[in-house]
């Protein structure tokens, strides 16, 4: 049973345009959400996070939006660059001492020059 879902396995965007990656979750107890970026043969790299008490967090070209009522979050990349081409993982965690992250399956983003 997937608690964190990324329903689009891939996304292709033109350089300079906006990339929007989506993520849905089922457990309303999640209180912390993160996006990771992964290149082939490398580990995931932290990109941006958001606490459940906020609905938006911005860091440069990256903005994460959280809609708790819809149990949905999205990552916006503006403007998209070819170097952004990677697999993007959405992750969520509970209020617990473990910090256990639950990951989605990932969305492969291709940014075309």
């Amino acid at each position: 049973d997937q608690q964190v879902k990324q329903n689009s396995p891939s996304l292709s965007v033109q350089e300079g345009r906006i990339s929007i990656l989506n993520c849905d979750y089922t457990n309303s107890m999640f209180d912390y959400f993160l996006w990771y970026k992964k290149y082939p043969a490398e580990g995931p790299t932290f990109l941006i996070s958001i606490s459940s008490i906020k609905d938006k967090n911005e860091d440069g070209r990256f903005t994460v939006f959280l809609n708790k009522s819809a149990k949905h979050l999205s990552l916006h990349i503006v403007p998209s660059q070819p170097g952004d081409s990677a697999v993007y993982f959405c992750a969520a965690s509970f209020l617990s001492p473990s910090g256990n992250l639950i990951f989605g399956k990932g969305t492969k983003l291709s940014v075309k020059p």
Binding site: G43, F46, G99, K105
Partner: protein, 112 residues
């Protein structure tokens, strides 16, 4: 100056063998983790250690055992390897649960 390093990067071995994967972090973090990425690409938590104490242990076979000689290391020992253990194993660390986890580059384990 790699933050989280894992060795080896590739590990090919036969069924029934015992193997270890090492992980070291130089970030001064208090918590370390092991994740498994299976053939379906899901990243799933296996273990985490906080100040040398196991604080979670997901439903993994007891053939897998984490060992932490000190705060900077969390090694993964696997006994009696099975075909289904083939996967990429990632080590990670974080200062605490409210901080992002930093990942190593993974160890690709292949069982023949």
């Amino acid at each position: 100056d790699t933050a989280v390093s894992q060795t080896p990067k590739y590990l090919v071995t036969q069924m029934g063998n015992d193997k270890s994967i090492k992980c070291e972090q130089n970030l001064g973090h208090d918590t370390m983790y092991w994740y498994k990425q299976d053939s379906k690409k899901f990243l799933k938590i296996m273990f985490s250690y906080n100040n040398k104490e196991l604080i979670i242990n997901e439903t993994v076979p007891n053939r897998f055992s984490p060992k932490s000689p000190d705060k900077a290391h969390l090694n993964l020992h696997i006994n009696s390897l099975e075909l289904g253990d083939s996967a990429v194993y990632f080590c990670a660390s974080s200062q605490d649960r409210n901080q992002p986890q930093h990942f190593g580059d993974g160890t690709r384990l292949s069982i023949l």
